[in-house]
Assembly symmetry: C3
Homo-oligomer: 411 residues x 3
Amino acid sequence: MDGLFTANNVWMMICTALVFFMHLGFSFLEIGLTRSKNTVNILFKNVFIICIGLLLYALCGFNLMYPGEFNGYFGFAGFGIALPENGLTVDYAGGGYTYWTDFLFQGMFAATAATIVSGAVAERIKLGSFMIFTILYVGIVYPIAGSWQWGGGFLSEMGFYDFAGSTLVHSVGGWAALVAIYLLGSRIGKFGEDGSSKPIPGHSLPLAAAGVLILWLGWFGFNGGSVLSADPAGTSLTLVTTCLAAAAGGMGAFIFDLLKNKQYDLTMMLNGILAGLVGITAGADQMMPLDSIFIGLIAGVIVVLSVSLIDKVKLDDPVGAVAVHLICGIFGTLAVGIFGAKGFFTTGSFEQLGIQFIGVACYAVFCLLTSGLILFGLKATLGLRVSREEEIDGLDDHEHGMSAYGDFVTK
Amino acid sequence: MDGLFTANNVWMMICTALVFFMHLGFSFLEIGLTRSKNTVNILFKNVFIICIGLLLYALCGFNLMYPGEFNGYFGFAGFGIALPENGLTVDYAGGGYTYWTDFLFQGMFAATAATIVSGAVAERIKLGSFMIFTILYVGIVYPIAGSWQWGGGFLSEMGFYDFAGSTLVHSVGGWAALVAIYLLGSRIGKFGEDGSSKPIPGHSLPLAAAGVLILWLGWFGFNGGSVLSADPAGTSLTLVTTCLAAAAGGMGAFIFDLLKNKQYDLTMMLNGILAGLVGITAGADQMMPLDSIFIGLIAGVIVVLSVSLIDKVKLDDPVGAVAVHLICGIFGTLAVGIFGAKGFFTTGSFEQLGIQFIGVACYAVFCLLTSGLILFGLKATLGLRVSREEEIDGLDDHEHGMSAYGDFVTK
Amino acid sequence: MDGLFTANNVWMMICTALVFFMHLGFSFLEIGLTRSKNTVNILFKNVFIICIGLLLYALCGFNLMYPGEFNGYFGFAGFGIALPENGLTVDYAGGGYTYWTDFLFQGMFAATAATIVSGAVAERIKLGSFMIFTILYVGIVYPIAGSWQWGGGFLSEMGFYDFAGSTLVHSVGGWAALVAIYLLGSRIGKFGEDGSSKPIPGHSLPLAAAGVLILWLGWFGFNGGSVLSADPAGTSLTLVTTCLAAAAGGMGAFIFDLLKNKQYDLTMMLNGILAGLVGITAGADQMMPLDSIFIGLIAGVIVVLSVSLIDKVKLDDPVGAVAVHLICGIFGTLAVGIFGAKGFFTTGSFEQLGIQFIGVACYAVFCLLTSGLILFGLKATLGLRVSREEEIDGLDDHEHGMSAYGDFVTK
């Protein structure tokens, strides 16, 4: 049993490291798809999110999210003073991992929701306001939302299924991103006076592509670790469905975009990969390979349509976060009801689909309300958006007094 | 037994993730060593290769490569519908891993062959033609070639030894790269009218260096996973020989190049590391540390000479792919016959060397024929090479309508 | 037992890979914080360090560091010819890992000390002199210093505690960095004639930030592997304390710097993360989460003060290596005596603090003497510093004849 416990815990720790590494992926993706004059600002936000996210999860998030397990809401078992008696033994989680691994793996997830928002609001949000939003959303909203399902709450009792967080992580971030870009407004120059949309190209496609590949790598841990042990059958199937959905997502978006827009658009293929990954996340352990390929292909098509739709309704999402994380997150969650459990079109059910829909709706209401409240409050007080001058000059110059690429001549 | 099976499968899944990550390494290396006007194109090709490579391996590659194991050639056990009965148990592969892990690990290898070609043909190949080549080479040629040895075919019966693919992966890619650069011709400006060779410097040495370090990291999985279990003795020796060969390759190339060309050439040291890695791959589990250091040193010298030779015969290989993957792949395969099995110069044999030579020759003939047929067919129909105007302007502009570094002033 | 041995060895091999990957982190950090005209030079140094470091550790380092285990000082058990009888069995290290894993994990640590120096001396040291310094410091000084504690030497017998190397790795590198920047002098333009200090901004903050995140990832292996097995309780606690200290370090430096200098300084937050990581390293397995948060916060404050202090005494350390690795390394080592063993302020003792202080002092004397001797000798013979002309033009041009970013227009 020792060997199995140790192997399980090793797997979970590696998955934790991989999920941590996703923050570099998000950072690269976000800076790659935006302008160089705002790069320091984006890096600052993302590094801040990891640091504060982990500390907040230690302070209150872990307890808020798993309220049944221990008493009190603060200090995750007293920061170790009141460590659960069996926390380091095989009894803690069926031999899957220790209490410490549990905290760290879940803590790495927590920061992700705010990072998703970070990309959408890039190039125009006030740093101070974003930091306050992050603290409230990661510290309180995310863990409460998570408790409904992963903490054994009412959605879990109802039979809702969200394996690794298409809804609990990606949509939770995505809803707030949607609210934020609505309240913030679009970047100067994004939409012409005649209502036309103008592309604002990113400044480093190598970093954007690297970001997506690092995120794909991170998803080995994000989904693979959500098995909560190293069970060979469960983990290896999960990695296969995850990778096939990513590959199909990339191909689906590439081909659909080629047919629709007659171009070989790298950023669309990259978004397609992320769409496939977000789409499979809710049911990565429940699908067969062919299901996962279908889910990836559909998510790839959805993301192309969504990016276009968001653009049409005059919302400005520099990195496509709403299309990828919110819309594909919803699709992925519903896909569990459609494609069902390990059955290749055979075991999906209308009943499950209904439950999935209810779950999606609950998170929609809660996240729209909470993020709306926080962001509206910030808008009314500190303000959400930097000045016109600061936006044009770049946030790096005004908020940080430094340039990301001091040696280079930029346009 | 459960603990051992789980630990083995954990190791194989991590190695799979590391081999996946090599695609970022290849991408960084290729864009780093070429010009910024073709960067989007290279990224597009490399991301495409991963996506299509995995899907093709699921569609037919896995079954073509391991024909004895299951019936049929399509849909790797029916995409899970007809999963082998023992596929998720210790009986499947002696407790080393599950059927799903097997597929994913081998699938990650498959895409590598095409990626090797991608670097050599960079900056001038038509995107459409390259995609068709990739589909045929990854989907059909690679798995058939692989079946001769890893699928239990005639070379394996003859006693050929290629532990992790000096020949089966690297030379298979390298032969096609050689054919492709011969048929494509050199980039405009590479060779003067007087026959002189002019260096075309890469646009980002940080990305090139990062690419090599990421590839080295990936080789922990490439070679370490080829043990096909986590056997402590086998895997740890393999990592030691792999790392020592890489280090010796870097030093060998650096010092030899310093003596030959009186310069501290970073790109040569980087190529030396890759040369050492490719060189040790065929026998990484069979060598002692001192052997691996010798193999690395020799590979480092070989790569410097090969780069120079390829240049002299007026072939244009922007990233040195033929020198690294083909020539050092051949050397590494023969080195198994020279340095022999775990014996420090004592157990190499002429007999084994002969068998190794036959294996190399079989792959040479097959890969030259198949890649020649595909590439010649493409040249005669769609054309292989972009127009002169497109090449001068850069492929990013014409094929993708975007720039990799929109904010920066380039020369 | 097989399962446990295998799981342990898997963990140690992964940690080895992660520590290897830290070299990309160091490279990115160093080039990101310096000017683009010296980028090739820094990459060359760092790639050289990894290659020569591993080979030297095989040649003599491993035996020098662990003298009790095997006979002789050269060729780590004859490069495998005289492999310890039990080297591949559970008897070798209590089932934690094999002899080969032992060598490779320790070998990856060895190169780190020289890499720390590399950042401090950037942009002005002669390549040849630095290479000679590296060979002597990594090949001889580091392993002898290490033998005092990890090799079972006198400090270990005295009760000195340095879990993963706040002193043995980070301070050992840091002392040499201090000596080197003193002997080298500051970069041209760093200090005005009136004694004022002028910032010399780095050329790529994305690479600097990526470097820090990669280093944080690498620390999962650096500290996690220092448990020397995959013991679930020990490894998972170590990862929690490591990550919380990093997060607290980033927040501590950010907030303290904001209060002190009224700016949102990304580089200070990044240095704070590293400070927290170095600070926790000596006692990562001995602290409770709350201790690690305090240690991180304090280290974050210390690094801000240290950077400022080093600047005030007119020492020029382009990447803050002395502040991070030396000063926070000393603090982390003493913190073991202050915060004590797994006890939340209760079990630190003056006695332990005294022993920690003696250990720090021993390393100070030894490292100052040895690095001073080597560097002074080099200064008196080959010279340490490049010519004024070379420094102004950039080392890439003179020493390597190439540019890191050939396509871009630089200032």
